[in-house]
């Protein structure tokens, strides 16, 4: 059974059909990429999975069960974490505090015990911190632990957002353009990390990315979208050489770089 499946999902904003009858399945342990020109509806698919939007048609299932009755804040408890295309960090907090918010879905303490900082709360805090420190080690963020986000360079912010998603201990990780705006070197780091996330942490990854080099290096399967519709699905090579895909990219100025 697939971990995540979209079945004939359609969403339109006014007259614009952003996602048009899209279906795909992401299997456990897979790295699955969504590609397509600007405005293809990729981020909208993410926002649908995050439950920010209700699809007008179709169904979204996690482990075979529909998630359409859940609120956005209940999605993380299914083991789904995400990053945003336009980095949504907590600007006035430190890196450490940002990652600790990633632990929110594991919160067990209640208001009363927190008001008096009961020993159980302290114990829980230590455990959260332990998980967060492992993520910090993994992504080599030690030097930035106590730095405020507001002062961090773009590349580091991207990594912090990935770290925050990992701190939730997800089963499925949604990455919206993890390498956009990164230097070649930073992109290479990202490739290694995504491979480790898949192989060592056994986390399934659904990714939106324009950098075809990154997509081809890490993806098991790729789905190409254009104007909300599916163009092609298959291995990175199959999709990249698919005539419809090439046509879609040529139509928008040939952003594909093989």
């Amino acid at each position: 059974m697939s971990l995540l499946s979209l079945e004939n999902v359609t969403l339109s904003f006014g007259g614009l059909i952003a996602v048009n009858n899209v279906s795909f399945h992401v299997g456990e342990g897979e790295v699955f990429s969504l590609v397509g020109p600007n405005g293809a509806g990729k981020s909208t698919v993410f926002n649908l999975i995050s439950r920010f939007y209700d699809p007008q048609k179709g169904n979204i299932k996690v482990n075979g069960e529909s998630i359409l009755r859940l609120r956005p804040d209940q999605v993380p408890s299914l083991g789904i974490a995400r990053t945003f295309q336009n980095i949504e960090l907590f600007e006035q907090s430190t890196v450490l505090q940002n990652l600790l918010i990633g632990r929110q879905r594991h919160r067990k303490s209640n208001l009363l015990s927190e008001m008096f900082f009961a020993p159980s709360v302290r114990e829980e805090e230590r455990r959260h911190r332990h998980v967060v420190e492992e993520v910090i080690d993994f992504l080599e963020l030690q030097a930035y632990r106590d730095k405020y986000i507001a002062g961090l360079p773009y590349g580091i912010r991207k990594v912090v957002e990935l770290a925050r998603a990992l701190a939730t201990e997800p089963k499925l990780l949604l990455l919206d353009e993890p390498a956009s705006g990164l230097s070649l070197e930073e992109t290479n780091d990202m490739i290694y990390w995504i491979e480790d996330i898949k192989k060592q942490m056994n986390i399934t990854v659904l990714m939106v990315e324009h950098d075809m080099n990154l997509v081809a290096s890490v993806s098991d399967r790729v789905l190409a979208l254009a104007d909300g519709k599916e163009l092609a699905i298959g291995t990175p090579q199959e999709v990249q050489s698919h005539p419809d895909v090439i046509k879609a990219y040529l139509g928008t100025g040939g952003e594909i770089n093989v």
Binding site: D73, F90, G151, R164
Partner: protein, 365 residues
């Protein structure tokens, strides 16, 4: 120059970051405990007044400074606390029960009132909460059988296990009572802010959308923030009732609501210190103006400073100056001075300049 070496996770969980810091706060506490020996009754009363405002300030700071929800209606919750406490006292319920109960009830009622306005953001929330303040005024007048209407109520005397506490009769005891409540609220506030709930507050303030994507239930967390904020404000209100002795609807008018908000802005949004700094400005300002006015009249012989509304005017001026020159409030200025000494001689002038920030052009929602 100071380096803080951290050895365990607890170093970040502790209330005090390092030993000197714990020492400063201990010294401050001892000073506060010894204050009745140092000040006469009048000035002790002024300090008591500042502490009551600091409690109210903490209430609003939690909501506005840490959770990002503006409220221009908090005078209504001060009033609620004051009336609930006074009414319960007059029914013969002992103060040790009426005070906490006034806080808890104000919290619950505040949360119920807030639920419909929780979906509003920014200026709309400000307007809706302003309406709460306006309505409160009318409700107090209309509920005359309970509130005494425009005549108001007299706060019944406080009796804690046979100990009579009165603002004029036993100002020292009243001061200690207020100090105790201040420390209690402070402790709870600090504990919440180092717990998951406090982090959820700050997360919601900075990005509601990603807080939600990380599992923060926005409605529930906002309602919780309102409840805690109103409960703290209710406690302050109950104490303010005793401080004022007698109060009516005018005591808790809209100006007080606005004053509360300006107080935390001047003090420094998003820090507990800010509530205290702001309270000092608001609490001592009338006194300061009176002294300046007397001085001006005596020495220069002009009377123009005795015009009505001067207090609000000076207050507004201070606010404008802060927004222009120190948006982080008094606490922000204090952090800069402290950093200067801690890093001496390595302080750089542009240390607190924010680096290039990135526009969120395509922000959803």
């Amino acid at each position: 120059m100071r380096f803080v070496f951290k050895r365990s996770y607890d170093d970040d969980i502790k209330l005090f970051k390092h030993r000197p810091q714990a020492f400063y706060y201990l010294a401050l506490l001892i000073l506060m405990l010894a204050l009745p020996l140092l000040l006469d009754d009048f000035f002790l009363g002024e300090v008591t007044y500042v502490l009551i405002f600091a409690i109210a300030g903490m209430g609003l700071m939690l909501l506005t400074g840490h959770t990002g929800q503006v409220s221009l209606g908090h005078a209504a919750f001060l009033a609620l606390g004051a009336y609930l406490n006074a009414i319960m006292l007059s029914k013969g319920i002992p103060f040790v029960i009426t005070l906490p109960l006034a806080g808890i009830l104000t919290g619950i009622i505040g949360m119920i009132i807030a639920l419909p306005v929780l979906r509003l953001h920014g200026i709309y929330l400000a307007i809706a909460t302003l309406a709460i303040s306006v309505l409160a005024d009318d409700i107090i007048v209309m509920a005359e059988p309970f509130t005494g209407g425009v005549t108001g109520l007299v706060a019944p005397p406080i009796d804690i296990f046979g100990l009579d506490i009165d603002r004029y009769g036993t100002p020292i005891l009243f001061y200690f009572l207020v100090l105790f409540v201040t420390l209690f609220v402070l402790m709870i506030y600090r504990n919440i802010m180092r717990s998951p709930l406090g982090r959820a507050f700050v997360a919601m303030r900075d990005s509601e959308i990603s807080a939600q994507a990380l599992g923060v239930n926005i409605t529930k967390t906002k309602a919780t923030a309102f409840a805690i904020s109103c409960a703290i404000t209710g406690l302050a209100g109950a104490l303010l009732g005793h401080f004022a002795g007698a109060f009516n609807n005018e005591t808790f008018n809209i100006v007080l609501s606005i004053q509360l908000l300006l107080m935390i802005v001047i003090g420094g949004l998003g820090s507990i210190h800010g509530a205290f700094f702001g309270a000092m400005v608001v609490g001592f300002l009338p006194q300061f103006i009176a002294i300046t006015r007397d001085f001006a009249t005596d020495n220069f012989g002009f009377n123009s400073l005795s015009m009505p509304g001067i207090e609000t005017g000076v207050f507004a001026l201070i606010l404008v100056l802060f927004i222009l020159f120190e948006p982080m409030g008094i606490y922000g200025r204090w952090v800069k001075i402290r950093t200067y000494f801690e890093l001496f001689p390595f302080y750089r002038k542009n240390m607190f300049k924010r680096q290039k920030s990135y526009l969120k052009t395509e922000r959803m929602k």
